[in-house]
């Protein structure tokens, strides 16, 4: 469940948000998320985000695709109706299955992984963007902290200010993730 009240530190420099995130993590405040217009290397480590499990999901999709391809070819060209192609043996040999297995594995892995990524990061068609600031997709860097679970607001504000935040805002979202103030 997404929290509704945030403290948002606004930065103009990737270096500054990196340092602020590091300080914040050190002082024991849990960062909700950082919003940056481009990938800031090493930021996800300093924020204390765990490694993604997307690769495990991709592996499972790949295995599924491979199995489906084997079952499909085994059923259609061996089990259900044996097709005579150039007098080739009709045993379920894997040699003839290889190209289709390869393609199905790649297809299932690619589609499954990208769909999982979309679902996990809530990127559907028609979703309202819950932006803290319109410029976070262009030239602003935003460090968002859950205001309800972290009570020591003064300390958070001070860390943000000391590390070069140009602005500190309190933001609230309603149930539909649209910005109230």
């Amino acid at each position: 469940m997404k929290p509704t009240n945030f403290i948002a530190g606004v930065f103009e420099d990737p270096e500054l948000i990196y340092r602020a995130a590091k300080k914040m993590n050190k002082s024991g405040v849990k960062i909700y998320d950082c919003y940056t217009p481009f990938a800031v290397h090493g930021l996800e480590k300093t924020m204390g985000i765990e490694r993604t499990r997307l690769s495990i999901a991709a592996f499972i999709y790949g295995c599924t695709g491979f199995t489906l391809a084997v079952i499909l070819q085994w059923f259609t060209s061996y089990m259900d109706w044996q097709i005579n192609i150039g007098g080739k043996p009709n045993t379920p040999v894997l040699v003839t299955f290889v190209p289709v297995c390869f393609e199905c594995t790649v297809l299932c892995t690619a589609l499954g992984t990208i769909m999982t990524f979309w679902i996990k990061s809530k990127m559907f068609h028609g979703v309202k963007p819950d932006l803290f600031d319109d410029r976070q997709t262009s030239d602003l860097f935003i460090l968002a902290i859950d205001a309800d679970s972290n009570k020591n607001h003064d300390a958070i504000n001070q860390i943000l200010r000391e590390n070069g935040a140009i602005d500190i805002r309190t933001k609230s979202f309603d149930k539909n993730h649209s910005l109230i103030q």
């Binding site: 990737p14 270096e15 990196y18 990938a39 800031v40 290397h41 090493g42 930021l43 996800e44 490694r51 993604t52 690769s55 592996f59 150039g86 080739k88 040699v95 003839t96 290889v98 190209p99 390869f102």
Partner: protein, 406 residues
């Protein structure tokens, strides 16, 4: 982000007498194995000793030359694609290319002395009584063979020297113009390599079975060159890191090399299946004979073992992210890949040369150890001549800060 104030300093590899002695022992071991194998088989009927000896010499010589050539190709591709990450390790492939003249000399020596045992088309009586081979005689003749090899390998060596000379000049002058010159020259090199390497693979490998042909064969050879070359680069980098050199090379660079080893093992399998599948389906007698020989009783085990060791083993060893970043798994995968492609080359050479008499004994293993010993010696000696870090490379800082997310 964190290591912005990184120091990039010159490093000198100390090729000390301990390492030298180890490499000399490797060369001596190879020599002893080869000689022992020769004496054990001497005087057997049907020229078995000669066939196995020259076959395994050609195999080992070709293998090391391919790996050495991959050094220059790696440099060329990285210049051409404007790659930054590889700047920290670029001295290793540069040094590997220095073995090329020795490689081509050994290949030509093998051709001069042992050609009648390896290349049946080089025997005039065989050529004169075979109209199929006469059709290919404009290509399969000694002049073209020697001339082609000297010209092509000469060109490769010229580019190897050129890239290295300019790279060393760059270290002193720190001028970005040199980098751009190298980029332009790399374009020329890649075009020349792309058109001439197929001819080399036809000459030295495909003409062992002169009646047989396969259009994907040169890509197959390139796949071997590339995956074994990348693996060897990775092994040299790990060796240097183990000695405390290459301080700016981190897990991130190893991760990239590991990914390439993983990916191009799969690429090799793709090419292998492409060649096998089409020949299996079309079932033309003159093509299918190649696989009939190799799937038979003499080579059947090795034929299927080839797929396990070159495809399944790297796939499973290097699949996870952690495996590509750890020294031990990379070394395991490296040994598997280099050993596996030795088996691959064995299957390309030996069935055509020795036929059903071929087995793996001292005489097959000896030359490989011998040539690898010389290759390692030349590479390490040329690494010791220059700084291990290309300090003047425009992307050296980018390479030092290289990071893969997530």
């Amino acid at each position: 982000m964190e290591h912005h104030h990184i120091e990039i300093t010159e490093e000198r590899f100390d090729f000390n007498s301990k390492t030298k002695n180890f490499v000399f022992m490797l060369i001596a071991l190879g020599l002893v194995c080869t000689l022992a194998g020769v004496f054990m088989l001497k005087g057997e009927a049907g020229n078995i000793m000669e066939k196995r000896f020259w076959g395994s010499m050609l195999m080992a010589g070709y293998y090391t030359t391919l790996i050495s050539l991959c050094g220059t190709v790696f440099i060329g591709i990285n210049y051409l694609s404007n790659a930054g990450w590889s700047a920290a390790i670029k001295r290793v492939p540069e040094a590997m290319g220095q073995y090329l003249p020795i490689g081509v000399l050994t290949l030509l020596t093998i051709f001069f002395v042992g050609k009648e045992y390896v290349f049946e088309w080089s025997i005039p009586e065989v050529m004169n009584n075979d109209s199929l081979l006469q059709g290919k005689s404009s290509f399969l003749n000694t002049t073209f063979f020697i001339g082609g090899s000297i010209v092509f390998f000469g060109l490769y060596y010229f580019f190897t020297r050129y890239f290295r000379r300019l790279s060393i000049k760059e270290d002193k002058e720190k001028d970005v113009k040199i980098y751009h010159t190298n980029r332009r020259v790399a374009g020329g090199f890649m075009a020349i390599f792309g058109f001439t390497f197929p001819v080399i693979s036809w000459m030295w490998m495909m003409s062992i079975d002169p009646h047989w042909f396969s259009t994907i064969y040169s890509i197959y050879n390139f796949a071997i060159l590339w995956v074994c070359g990348i693996t060897t680069i990775c092994m040299f980098v790990l060796f240097l890191k183990g000695r405390g050199y290459l301080k700016i090379v981190t897990e991130e660079h190893l991760h990239d090399l590991g990914k390439m080893m993983f990916a191009f093992s799969i690429f090799w399998t793709y090419i292998w299946v492409s060649q096998y599948l089409l020949i299996w389906y079309a079932n033309l007698p003159e093509e299918a004979i190649y696989y009939t020989e190799r799937k038979g009783i003499d080579f059947g085990f090795q034929f299927w073992f080839n797929l396990i060791i070159n495809f399944l083993a790297p796939l499973l060893i290097l699949m996870t992210k952690n495996a590509k970043r750890k020294r031990n798994t990379l070394i395991t995968a490296g040994i598997v890949i280099i050993g596996g492609h030795w088996n691959d080359l064995y299957l390309m050479v030996m069935p055509g040369v020795a036929g059903e008499e071929a087995t793996i004994g001292l005489i097959e293993i000896g030359p490989t150890i011998f040539f690898f010993g010389i290759f390692i010696y030349v590479t390490l000696a040329s690494l010791a001549k220059q700084s291990l870090i290309a300090v003047g490379h425009p992307y050296i800082k980018e390479s030092a800060l290289h990071e893969i997310t997530p």
